[in-house]
């Protein structure tokens, strides 16, 4: 047997055995190209209804988080600048600078409850909102601004109306709550100001008034949590979807994912969110003890004990 | 070739056994001699000494002017290869080789190039009439055919001396006659000395010279007349 023949025999045997031995669990699918270049940076400007209080899992169910997950591209970055109880004036000093330093390319603004319950006059609200929107638009960001839902679906109002007081989540109820008609008129004036300011600054109006009214008319899941102080999980989903539908096509993520926190596209509140938590909301106790404060406390207590080690 | 007082003994179980006790002979160049004698007389032994198959123990032996008794090892092998052509009673062919390869064997051992030895083997096989059977192995040949091949092999290196040990011992009469005629004609054509060991009187009568080996000694008697082949014995 010549050496060449021996080599071919060896090669044949080796080939057979290699083929037989093939079966590695590691796949070799072609890799997607790495995502580089400018990324969508989304900053949420809002109040207590933007941090997820009232949902089953605030970190995941807060409407800006849902909006980020389902309506923005895979490579998007999200910072929730919302501060519970923030008014528009607060946001100008507390939140707008963060949006600027983050070089936000998409900003959502939903600031109604705190100003309304604080009794901010509509004209003042309009002026402050205009200033806020201008500062956000100045860096070229796409700004989506939501208007007020119907009064009885406004986060905080039912809680104050029903005497829930200050649940300790940044909700400030007025000592003397105006009558519903007055509040409704103020709300309507707010909505007009929001529409006008949005048009003036080139921001995108998100009609939560209409979306929530439609949902209620169809008898969907409750928009607010049982305390009436915050959005429920379903309500957060509705708001997220409304903002998502308003995102310009070029920025929007093409489809909502199939995670269980996504309700029907056309009528969000007609389908219940499958229970992901066993906790039942109660009227007196908050549905969740999370929010930025709880997270803050957690970070402070846990991260100091951790330091990366090689092994 | 001239042998003088050649003596040889074999070691047996009960001691040394003398086979030759002073054999003296002379065969002229190009001569034709028959070595005869009773069984056990030492004919094969003497032939072995002349052919270099055995080393000379006592005496002298000259072939073609060379002192064969002084040859050892490779020199003796070279003598066997180039000076002597040996033909065996049982043909002596290698079963693993074809007729052509058997004929080439001596040339292979002499280091001849393959083209040269192949041509020479083809010529010899043609001369012995074995060309059609050149590719056959000995097992497929008759006794006579095998002896023809053996004759061709003995001649491949153009030896000066051909030694045939009972070349027709295993053949029938007709085949024996053919083989002897072939051997003798080749000897004449190529001009070499031929010594044949035989116990056949008729075969011995063909030779020009008859050497009788008896009890270890040689008595040389010229063949009456010119011998069966018409040759006259020349002087030493």
């Amino acid at each position: 047997m010549t050496a060449r023949r021996a080599r071919s025999v060896v090669a044949s045997v080796v080939l057979v055995l290699v083929l037989a031995a093939c079966g590695s669990t590691a796949t070799t699918t072609s890799t997607r190209p790495a995502v580089t270049g400018p990324r969508t940076t989304y900053v949420a400007v809002g109040g207590s209804d933007s941090v997820g209080n009232g949902t089953d899992d605030p970190l995941l169910d807060a409407w800006p988080q849902q909006f980020f997950r389902h309506s923005l591209p895979l490579e998007a970055v999200f910072v929730n600048a919302a501060v519970p109880g923030s008014t528009v004036a607060d946001a100008i000093t507390d939140q707008a600078p963060l949006a600027s330093s983050s070089r936000a390319t998409v900003v959502t603004v939903w600031l109604v409850s705190a100003d309304l319950l604080d009794g901010t006059p509509a004209s003042t609200y309009a002026t402050q909102l205009l200033q806020l929107l201008r500062s956000l638009r100045a860096q070229g960001a796409t700004v989506l601004v939501g208007n007020a839902p119907p009064l009885d679906q406004l986060p905080g109002y039912p809680a104050c109306r029903d005497g829930a007081g200050r649940p300790g989540r940044g909700l400030r109820c007025p000592v003397a709550l105006p009558d519903p008609a007055t509040l409704a008129a103020t709300t309507s004036a707010y909505d007009q100001a929001i529409a006008a300011d949005a048009a003036q600054t080139g921001s995108i109006l998100v009609d939560l008034q209409g979306a929530v009214a439609t949902s209620v008319a169809h008898g969907g899941a409750p928009f607010l949590d049982p305390s009436g102080a915050d959005l429920s999980t379903a309500g957060s989903t509705l708001v997220a979807q409304a903002f998502g539908d308003a995102v310009p096509a070029g920025t929007r993520h093409t489809a909502w994912s199939t995670t269980t926190d996504r309700s029907a596209t056309s009528s969000v509140l007609t389908r219940r969110k499958p229970a992901a938590s066993a906790r039942a909301p109660t009227a007196s106790a908050p549905t969740s003890t999370h929010g930025n404060q709880r997270l803050t406390a957690w970070w402070v207590s846990h991260r100091r004990s951790s330091r990366w080690t090689p092994d | 070739m001239v042998g003088t007082a050649l003596a040889h003994r074999y070691e047996g179980p009960s001691g040394a056994v003398p086979v030759l006790v002073g054999a003296t002979f002379a065969v002229p160049r190009d001569g034709y001699a028959a070595l005869v004698g009773p069984s056990g007389a030492g004919k094969t032994t003497l032939l072995s000494l002349i052919g270099g198959l055995e080393r000379v123990q006592t005496g002298t032996l000259e072939v073609g002017g060379r002192d064969v008794a002084s040859l050892v090892g490779d020199e003796l092998a070279a003598y066997r290869r180039t000076t002597v052509g040996f033909i065996f009673q049982n043909f002596g062919l290698l079963e693993a080789l074809t007729a052509s390869e058997n004929v080439e064997l001596a040339a292979v051992l002499a280091g001849e190039r393959s083209a040269v030895r192949r041509r020479r083997a083809a010529e010899l096989l043609d001369a012995v009439g074995m060309t059609p059977r050149a590719a056959h192995r000995p097992g497929a040949l008759s006794g006579g055919e095998r002896q023809r091949v053996a004759i061709a092999r003995a001649l491949v290196n153009s030896p000066r001396l051909i030694l045939a040990d009972e070349p027709t011992g295993n053949l029938d009469a007709d085949t024996s006659e053919e083989v002897m005629q072939l051997l003798e004609s080749l000897r004449r054509d190529r001009g070499c000395t031929l010594m044949v060991v035989t116990h056949d009187r008729a075969l011995a009568a063909r030779a020009a010279q008859r050497l009788v080996l008896d009890r270890g000694r040689i008595t040389s008697a010229p063949t009456p007349g010119t011998g069966a082949t018409g040759e006259r014995a020349a002087g030493p």
Partner: protein, 442 residues
């Protein structure tokens, strides 16, 4: 007689008795197969063990921690560490200039929330009531993904993230176990989407501390076998550095730990195992603690070497026994071919021509048996390795890899041939000494 003619004559002689020749060759082949298979499997096992010790990375890899060395732990494979000491770029450059260092690979880490919608984790570091929820606290470990082959990390499912990707990550079994995903089920997570949140401290207008997270989405593209240090998510340097920068830009009065070491650690590859001790000493002289399984590897290699010697001895004995078969076969051949040898001598063969012919016969049988046996042995070793590999990977462990030991294959064939020629020496000498008169003896 030329070598070519001697080979031809030897080959004809061997083929005259094909059955005897085949049996002799088979004996040599079996011995060679045993030799080759044992040593190949030993080498494969050694590679697997060393790979396990080096955790899939190069054997000469050294881990450098962002901590000072403990002088009492010099020379220990995994020493205890001293006080924390940041690793900055200047330190990296100094270490890279140490003689014997081949490459320095940075490791950056970032603390992060890991949110996995639809999955529930339990246990410590879970951000939820009663330590149950979808969000856990973990660490991202960022490395140069284009140099992953140099890191002690191996895949058990999927693939590594694309170099530079900010949306692809690998996770570890430890992280998955927190979500109750273990064993072969870990493979099912490939393709899932998780949300990562890097923390940053702020101080509100009223002075209260606030942590906000910078959230990003990532797709799990693979599962790595080893824990990435104490981190559960393996990602690109780009992804982790972005989170690091976000955290470090926070209010230090709220989060004093925010501005940590630029590099959480380094992975240094020395130029060979021999250079590891000196490189470690030099790095420790720069002021950082190192760890490397050099002593363990050296110990393992010593033991494996002993095993290899034993296996080699067994293989050589097997070959020697097979070679005795060659001696036996050739001695019988010499007895049977006395006349034939005599005829060869009679037509002019020298003693050394006969000797060479028989030695070639022996060598040919040995070489043939060596080649066949080597092929069989390699095939057997690969078959065993395939079975073992299948079992290991089914258990979620790193498999085994069989390389083609060319040197061993050549050594086996050469060794079998040499042994066969040595075994044929006695019968060859006996044949060479036979007298030419054997041709005429009855």
């Amino acid at each position: 007689m030329s070598w070519a003619d001697a080979f031809r004559l030897a080959a004809r002689s061997v083929l005259r008795r094909p059955g005897r020749a085949a049996l002799t060759v088979v004996a040599v082949a079996l011995a060679a197969a045993l030799f080759t298979a044992m040593l190949t499997m030993a080498a494969t096992a050694q590679g697997r063990v060393l790979n396990q010790l080096a955790k899939g990375g190069p054997l000469a890899g050294i881990q450098v921690a962002a901590a000072a060395p403990d002088p009492s732990q010099a020379g220990v494979d995994n020493p205890t560490r001293g006080a924390a000491k940041p690793i900055d770029q200047a330190a990296v450059d100094r270490i890279a200039r140490i003689p014997g260092v081949d490459v320095v690979l940075p490791i950056v880490t970032a603390e992060s929330l890991v949110a996995w919608p639809g999955h529930t984790a339990t246990g410590g570091n879970v951000v939820g009531p009663n330590n149950s929820g979808s969000v856990v606290f973990d660490q991202l470990v960022g490395v140069n993904l284009s140099r992953l082959s140099d890191f002690p990390v191996t895949l058990s499912a999927g693939r590594f993230p694309s170099p530079g990707s900010v949306t692809q990550v690998d996770v570890t079994p430890v992280l998955l176990a927190r979500y109750g995903i273990t064993g072969t089920r870990t493979r099912s997570v490939v393709g899932s989407q998780i949300i990562l949140g890097a923390p940053r401290g702020f101080r509100s207008a009223d002075g209260t501390p606030v942590f906000r997270s910078r959230w990003t989405k990532a797709t799990i593209v693979g599962v790595v076998t080893q824990q990435a240090g104490s981190g559960g998510v393996l990602a690109s340097l780009s992804l982790v550095r972005a989170d690091q920068r976000w955290t470090a830009a926070g209010d230090l009065s709220v989060d004093p730990d925010a501005a940590g070491s630029p590099y959480a650690g380094l992975f240094v590859i020395a130029r060979g195992l021999d250079a590891v001790p000196s490189v470690r000493a030099a790095i420790e002289a720069v002021g950082y603690s190192t760890s490397a399984p050099e002593n363990l590897i050296a110990t393992v290699e010593r033991y494996v070497h002993v095993v290899e010697i034993v296996l080699t001895g067994i293989g050589v004995i097997a070959l020697a026994i097979a070679s005795l078969g060659i001696t036996n076969a050739l001695l019988a051949a010499v007895r049977e071919r006395r006349r034939e040898i005599g005829i060869l001598k009679a037509v002019g063969a020298r003693d050394r021509d006969v000797l060479r012919s028989f030695l070639i016969e022996a060598g040919v049988m040995g070489a043939l048996g060596g080649v066949i046996g080597t092929v069989l042995g390699l095939a057997l070793a690969r078959l065993v390795a395939a079975i073992v590999d299948g079992y290991l990977t089914s258990q979620g462990l790193a498999g085994v890899h069989v390389s083609t030991p060319y040197q061993l294959a050549v050594a086996t064939v050469v060794g079998a041939t040499v042994l066969a020629v040595a075994a044929g020496a006695l019968p060859a000498r006996r044949a060479a000494r036979l007298p030419a008169r054997e041709a005429v003896e009855l």
